[in-house]
Symmetry: D2
Subunit: 277 residues, 4 copies
């Protein structure tokens, strides 16, 4: 008995749940969990179906494809661990959290490599027996640096890139190579405090809550589909750097939770939003 | 086009989702939302299906019943507002919250009457044009008092009774007349601080969080299926009465949210637990 | 034995706590709670001291004023209930929450009157025996309308005005009559979604959390000192109007909590921020 | 300019804040933060005063001691990092979180050693260049095992012992050697689910929230003074082992936060409660 997850995204139509689940039943695939969502304003149908059984009959997918509307995006994913490459700059907390959670088994992902534009986080990474690549940006323009980064990254054929406080803006070219495959942690409760130094902005505004946002990276900086957000309370006792320190806990928790949802195939992208089933 | 909700609870079997959704589709009933859950340890299947269409063909239910296992509990509920009777003692906050939320439309329920073993909350109730019945327990034993309460309550043919800080224990006879139809708010995070004076107990123990629990009432005091729980932080500055005061906000929020889930037919009872779909 | 609260705000200097608490001690005033805060970047000192004793000796305040720096703002407030006037438009939830909490004693404030630019909320208000004034804005320009509002409001000599979903922007003239005395609830987690229709903006952006902000009103719309913020999680299931509905709970809770802090003299304004002691 | 923290705990009396802060002022010690609390039911006074200045004049402490009641516990602690020894069994998450937080600087403590009754966590510990001691309990009675543990532990002269999912009950003898110096993480929201297998108990009861509790260890198992508690929501989808997995995040966060408060000298013990200033 194998387990696989069927992910269906198409234009909504009558009877889609019945059609899909009936085909599963006919092929003796047992449904463990089924979640669906119809986005009424856009008329889009999303369904995530965890299945158990024998998947060796190719007629299963053929039957599905025959029954579903032509524009359907349909994936049947097995439970192989996803592979990620993590991009970092200098801060350890998000990287460390992912490394520790993969170590203790609470995050089910393979960290293929860590790539940094500084060399600071080599020791931490290598302690977990993971290769670290230092690709300095010094003396390079943005395109040159990204080119070198991609040479390193692409060799790993990662399912996702994770920007774990990677503090450089990516070009459209770079992003275009990993569409909806790059997850970033932004150190504010987007769309508040877009741009540089969000904790300083939060301090200056006197907010009583700070947050963090994990999102897919698109060409529009800080505007990609949001996967997960969370917040913590602050007060007048917090300096801007206290806020940054307190925010690190939120950042790493939000990033880990978003990553977990993505690699377990719970996240659909729908325009500039996510649907999480 | 009408909207109804199909609630199915039966022993799990292969193909149940496909069978139910196919019958809906054959009868041109469109599925707006569908949620299902299988409780593996007990092998129970639960599904909640929001439908839209014409329900006048009796063959729909006949087809469903023919397709489902014999032991199935199957209900097709329309969107008529549920009717509740609220039981109170002296404290206003839970009653007031329900009255205000029905007034401003954020809680979709009809408060048929309020019944109190004191007369304190008459004015508040009547300001919302709802009948108030004072049924004193003085000079009566428990059975006699409950008998008088039931005479008042039963005339309203309520879907649910809500104990909004009703501070008397109900007998098995009373509870037996409203099985899984009585919702209580307990002023602690059950199962902590079962029994009397939970805030004093919480204070004595020096806890850093207090909570409230909404549950269905069964014969086992404080042991019925839990519908909703929530908590708030407290600290050394809180006296036992500060905790009680702070707890009121949690109590009323938890009770209102539990009630909302129940009257919108999201709550299944499964043994001494709830499944909320 | 009387209880009063001493509120001190001045430029920081060595020995301020010792000086103030020593003068209290010399005048046999017992300190029940003392909270202080120094804002290092601005060099401002804030202290809130709850005192118990006999306050009839005028030398107490004279001694304090002699010991403190010249620029000090020093207030000794007694425990008289503060008086508020509530401004509303059409939505009931924030008004209803304040009315109910003053009724059940969980908010210690006197609602002197409710003033609305529609007549919708008259019945709810009058059920709590509070005068309701309908001051329509129709056919009036902003100044004329505000002038009529102020004629009604000013007769009550309120300590604070509370904008409980009052949906009109106030002019600088109006605000200038109640400096740091007007509390507004904004239906977003400021500074996200400044301006009109924040729930629609939140929906369009696909955020996973929505919030509310209570702040003092200043001339800069949505930019006044923030008193309290809170949030709730949302997801792809929420339409813009679902978010608005869910947000109402946060709005009313945030406004009530902010109001409670303000009327119990916990809130200092420091530039465009608050210090809450 | 040095920084030290003055911790005062004594019977309440008039003028204590004035006396202490005046002596600080006379000795030219500037108060950065001051927090006090009087527990009225027990008449105990607690104050935590962060000071900055020159501490070389012995008259400062002499003056304090002369001014304070005889029973006072008074400590002046410098900002030296506290030293801890961590006790573990098999689970990595709490240990890993402390190691990572000390590594990235978000927890300011020195981990002197890790001692385990299994050898599982050696590799993780040694990757952070910290000594690991394996002290098996096999073939030993409780006293013999604790004796061997203490021989290892005592050589480090730790300020605190941290039980990071150390799954053995400590004897009164062991606890007596580190009074209010042993911090445990209990995997439930105490006092709910005291005893063994709390997640299974929580699952069986059908709770909607699970939690964790960090507390000082005393002779009464699960009854020591609570330092910190936190919770997360669960629902019918969680098996007992899902709850245990989800609970790990809460456990490690609660333990780290409690530890941070303790080693920064914010925590007073008052009977079987804590006062956190």
């Amino acid at each position: 008995m194998e387990k696989k997850t069927l992910l269906t995204h198409c234009t909504d139509a009558p009877g889609l749940i019945a059609k899909i689940t009936s085909i599963c039943y006919q092929h003796k695939l047992n449904i463990i969990h089924n979640n669906e969502f119809v986005d009424n304003p856009t008329g889009q149908f999303f369904m995530r179906t965890e299945l158990e059984g024998q998947f060796d009959d190719p007629a299963f997918l053929a039957d599905l494809d025959a029954a579903l509307p032509p524009c359907t995006t349909r994936r049947l994913v097995d439970s192989t661990r996803k592979k990620i490459v993590i991009l970092v700059t200098k801060e350890a907390h998000c990287l460390g959290d992912i490394l520790m959670k993969t170590y203790d088994g609470s995050l089910d992902v393979e960290v293929a490599a860590v790539v940094g534009n500084y060399d600071n986080l080599r020791q931490l990474t290598e302690r977990f027996d993971i290769p670290y690549h230092f690709v300095s940006h010094e003396g390079l323009n943005r395109q040159e640096h990204e080119q070198k980064m991609l040479e390193v990254i692409n060799q790993y054929q990662a399912d996702y890139l994770v920007l774990a406080k990677y503090m450089r803006v990516l070009t459209a070219d770079f992003v275009g190579q990993y569409p909806h495959k790059i997850i970033n942690i932004h150190h504010s409760f987007l769309p508040a405090f877009i741009g540089a130094r969000p904790y300083q902005q939060a301090y200056d505004r006197g907010v009583k809550i700070i947050g963090a946002t994990a999102h897919f990276v698109t060409n529009d900086l800080d505007e990609g589909p949001i996967i997960k957000q969370d917040v913590i309370p602050v007060d007048h006792n917090f300096s801007a750097s206290d806020m940054a320190q307190a925010g690190r806990d939120v950042e790493k928790n939000v990033l880990s939770k978003a990553l977990s949802k993505v690699v377990d195939d719970h996240v659909f992208v729908s325009g500039n939003k996510t649907v999480i089933l």
